[in-house]
Symmetry: D3
Subunit: 289 residues, 6 copies
């Protein structure tokens, strides 16, 4: 492909996305492999250069687990949710806000842009509520397990993010929030990204994961373009499974609440973000209304 | 070259040029071959899409000559300057303003942007003065030849262009102006482009011609990057000759009066404008301070 | 009449018209006799001085005909409409845009204000559509005659005019426009003036003609003040005839679409424009709702 | 003179004065004869209509004297200055602020504009200082006479007037002010007008009096146009005498401190204000730099 | 009460009232006893210091009576309304506007803020209408008594007050206004304050009187907090009597028309205004919706 | 002291401080005893309520030490500076940013205002440089000890803080920053507070400590008011010793670089912040130019 063709293909996208809000969820290897994160942040800074307004949301499960183990605490999960006692919550908060979030902000600075790390507490961004206890069957008995400091989003107040975007900062959001009683809670980062995208009336929600997109049952083919109803069908028919289910339902819900489109793509492969955004063909899966 | 590489190379330029004023002189085949002009206008509209503020300046000598011949008038030149009597001036004005200029504006509309055609009269953009008569030797005798309606720029009042750029129009300038006595004059378009670039404090002045750039004496090599002092030396040493001399001295003068850089490149080859602006290597000659 | 009485009568009008948009159609001798045009432009500049926002619209039929004859082409008309082949259209465009329009702009400059000449192409001001062929009876046979490049206004996008007025320029409009397929068309100037007045929600539409106003059947009396329904009646009852019919129906249509009032007056007599606007009595015919 | 000639003469002045600040001192009969004041206020409202920003300053000596006599107090003067005890001051304040000032404001309202009456206290407009005692010779003895509540302007803080002008009100100023100790003082209105004109950097200072302008010694001729140095000479050479001296020196001082020009004219004759401002010839005396 | 407790109690009120409009009616001794007025103005300036936008409205009945008696005129009243002939009106206007109003403005200046004294004429603030004649029984006969220059408010045009507040001045309003025929009228100051509070959509209306608030029948207890319906009941049941009736009905009407709350308190006791506004307990009576 | 006296004393301060920037360093018990921090944040929110723009800076030494010990690491100090290896730095960052900073922000939310936690990385607020190694004598030998991740401020870029203050957030700063090579460094919080106060051109710098202010040698008396030269003398003469030296020299340096005044007071005693700011007497030590 000739350079001028790449450019002529890309320029209309660059214009179309100018000034638009894009929420990017960083997941998978991005948070662990330095080089991957570095490439992503480089691309994010380029997006901001050409006029987009980017919001990053990150998780940090593996690092929390690692830090817990280092401190001699064994992580426990129920239905994939971490049972989070007070001490665990303190570790999670320190890792998410003090290590990962602040680290991403430093990396943005190294690539020449200005990031601002925030948690759900900053500017009262997120109001959460504690999750209901889970019913677990141990032996013959069903018992209720309190998940501790694990929450769901009840409300997003996007004022601070809008204020930061207006001043050309890249907000970096750690998935931590208070509930109305002032209890600190850990929240699923995919959930946070989708809810923030809705609250900001974002143009796009992009999920950077470890796989190349939404794939068919035998993993031989990526779906490049699916509608929200097709996505719902796929989930219902069991074509989609595992960790992709929540991502896909998150995308569907975001679009139904006003987000323009949602993308799922592999963040581990160099500059996929640019290819997805600035070429006609793209590289991952786009979910559209 | 991979797509992501083209993009990563281009994006920083796109950012750097955002909001910058670029004056482009259209010359050579551009004004005659429809397809060439079409490609150039397509690129110009893309430049505007991604945030640049583009001003076009055009000439029209060949078309004036053609129209004159059609009307049974033989064009006469002295030192390459057209002797322009009142009737010739009327033809020139009609061709430049009524045909070429309005035609470029239509083409911009067809490519989805908004152009506004102006001459030096509009908004008092240009104040000119009549050129002094030329001394010519005919046989043994030296005689003075009055050039008629041929002028030089005395003053640029860029208010109207700034107003149009502010409102996101693409101004298209025909090289016609009044002198202080109200006499209408035809002016060299390269001159107009350079003076307007200076008056606008433009970021770049780009001259689209029929050759690939500034070339060495035996036309085997293009100079990709020359300084104003190198350019002056080349002219002095006779390395540069013919029609390139005024273009190059125009570029030098523009840069010395504050324009960021000047480019000379072949406008006849598809999308050279994009390659020159958005790749590290470029394709023509750049003149820098 | 004493000076102070003239002033006391005029000042309230000056205040009332301050900042108001007035569309003036220049017709008849104005475009041919230099002195008449000079007086009108002098008045127009005074109007702008005291705060009005003036838009000029001009035609140019006689000059197009003259230029065609000079180039050995015989003009042909059907139902008063010029049959406009490609070559004729090029002449019309050159005369209207390159000669008349640019000439008016020069004259405005000479009187100390700033004009900007535009055609329907500039800023996509006018979208036209080709007129349907006319049925003509030649001998016994009815045949269809294609008018060529003759159009009607389909849409006015007044953005550019508003932008120019905001910056205190006097827009001068040539009645040329593209249709949606990019075909260039010549349009009736009275029509253009009325449609632009409507699109700008103008305060007044003024038609400068060769007669003193709307007159009674035997041309002994001018009607000074008529309502739109009276005007419609006059046309219906055959009191009004000839070239005044389209002007009057144009005024009626403009007023019905929101223009405040419309005036028809003799532009050939010195400073009628001032008398009409700044005296209680006026001098031509005013059409009101 | 034909109507169009009056208009063509007036319109450039109307444009030139648009947005300019004009300080008008009302004196003489204006404050006593209702009809005269009514005509002046009518003209003032017209001036405001056409875009000028007018500030009125008034005196009120005759009315103060009348009210004092009504209350059985005999007015006393030293060197033309009223000896103003506490009781006299209260009467002066009530007459100036409560009667004359509020009356002018009502009259402005009746003519359709919005006035705001202010004294030097409002918005701390004026800071005054008590005048030094006067030396008087009674019989053989020289004695000092304290003038009481009589002051001179020390400082003008034009903020309130500018705020009112910005909002299109006509400020009407009564010549009363506090000194830095909070003592209320009566001040010469000519002085107040000149100082306010300077503080506002006014375009014109106009003094409406009972005579037709600055006249020659034998009162046979009005000087229509004098420079500040000619004016100074006239005063020095005794050509000017009596009440005109302070008016003329006031004008000179105002112009030397930046006011554009000063006019002295007869306010008792109908609409002189309009004639002076909007005709080439004028009607009173203009003092220029 | 410890200092920090007073502060912690006051600060939230200070914040809550920031930028809010408060209309304060000055009555009773305030206008007669210098020390009382001085304390009130000191408090008013403090209120403005901390960000409130204060409008003062004053009456002046006792001073008008005094001045009339000084001038040998006997005041006459019908139903508590002063019969106001032309001469009386002139005295009222001079006292209210020239003495009391200008005096309050001076006092504001002495305390370091900027006041602007206005009557209903300034900026056409108030449009009034003459009151209907009163029926009076003298001996056996009922006769109609014309009250002369006594009016009621017909319309408030709060533009000038808003303009002054925006520029941080304290407007001081004298209860004088023209009717639509240009007749000058004296108006009840409580009425003016309530109507202005409504027109400004004020946050609070505060009436400073000679009593401590709304009291029960035997004057042993102040009601600290009453609703508009309780207030209406009290009046109906005769618990409230005399001069308090119009104040209370005024408050009720203001609140019903959008004013946030109304306060009636003793202005003669030092700094009650501060206590009422900045303590939880308050000191007078607050009327709420 | 009566309530109105407290109010009259406080209101002028409230006005004076309105819109002013105040940098508060939280130290000592504030970070450890919940109730103390709660009282301080309550006061800080009140300050913001009444219009001040508050910036908080906190340290966290004791908590870092505690966390290190919990993780089995023994803290080491040289000249009072913590030797900070990579692992220690990670703990410091997690404690400062993830625990203390985010905790203060939560507390601000609980008191009804909006805080935003930032480190020196956010918005590139702080650029630091690594501290030089310290020379230490161990036994007979002098050896150099590298302090690791310990830095000094090289540059403050206050853009982000100004942006947050403009939008009415309370910025909470953790003393962590990158150097120009991207190395993360721990910085003394007193130093950060003083440098930020200078960069913001703050009105006040307030240091909340464990002692009542600057005391004389035998700790019997607090100095209430000292100049920067007196402070310098005290340090030179050894009157001041220990931890107070750096605080005092920090204050002196801040004032010399444009901060209005600096206060040192006991943050452990309830609402001292309010007393210091809003009473004439104050409660701690004020350092003035």
């Amino acid at each position: 492909m000739k350079r001028e063709e790449v450019l002529m293909e890309a320029l209309p996208y660059i214009r179309k996305f100018h000034g638009k809000i894009i929420v990017i969820k960083l997941g998978g290897h991005a948070m662990v492999e330095e080089e991957v994160l570095d490439t992503i942040i480089q691309d994010v800074v380029l997006l901001q250069y050409v006029g987009m307004r980017v919001v990053l949301v990150h998780g940090g499960g593996p690092e929390i687990t690692a830090k817990m183990e280092m401190m001699g605490k064994a992580p426990k999960f129920v239905e994939g949710l971490r049972i989070t006692d007070r001490e665990t919550m303190e570790i999670a908060q320190m890792v998410l806000v003090g290590k990962i979030n602040d680290g991403i902000v430093s990396l943005i600075a190294r690539h020449g842009a200005l990031g601002v790390g925030i948690s759900g507490n900053d500017g009262n961004l997120l109001i959460a509520q504690k999750m209901d206890p889970r019913k677990v069957v141990i032996g013959d008995e069903e018992t209720e397990v309190d998940l501790g400091h694990v929450g769901e989003i009840e409300e997003v107040r996007p004022g601070l993010i809008n204020d930061l975007l207006e001043k050309r900062y890249i907000p970096v959001v750690a998935p931590i929030a208070l509930d109305r009683q002032g209890m600190i809670l850990n929240i699923n980062a995919d959930h946070v990204a989708a809810e923030i995208a809705v609250a900001l009336n974002a143009f796009k929600l992009i999920s950077l994961t470890d796989v190349d997109g939404v794939m068919n049952e035998d993993r031989t083919r990526i779906y490049r373009r699916i509608t929200t109803s097709e996505a719902a069908e796929m989930v219902r028919d069991g074509i989609i499974a595992g960790g992709m289910i929540p991502k896909l339902t998150g995308c569907v819900s975001a679009i139904k609440n006003g987000v323009g489109s949602a993308h799922i793509l592999n963040g581990n492969k160099g500059h996929n973000l640019l290819i997805e955004l600035f070429t006609d063909e793209g590289i991952g899966t786009i979910v559209m209304p």
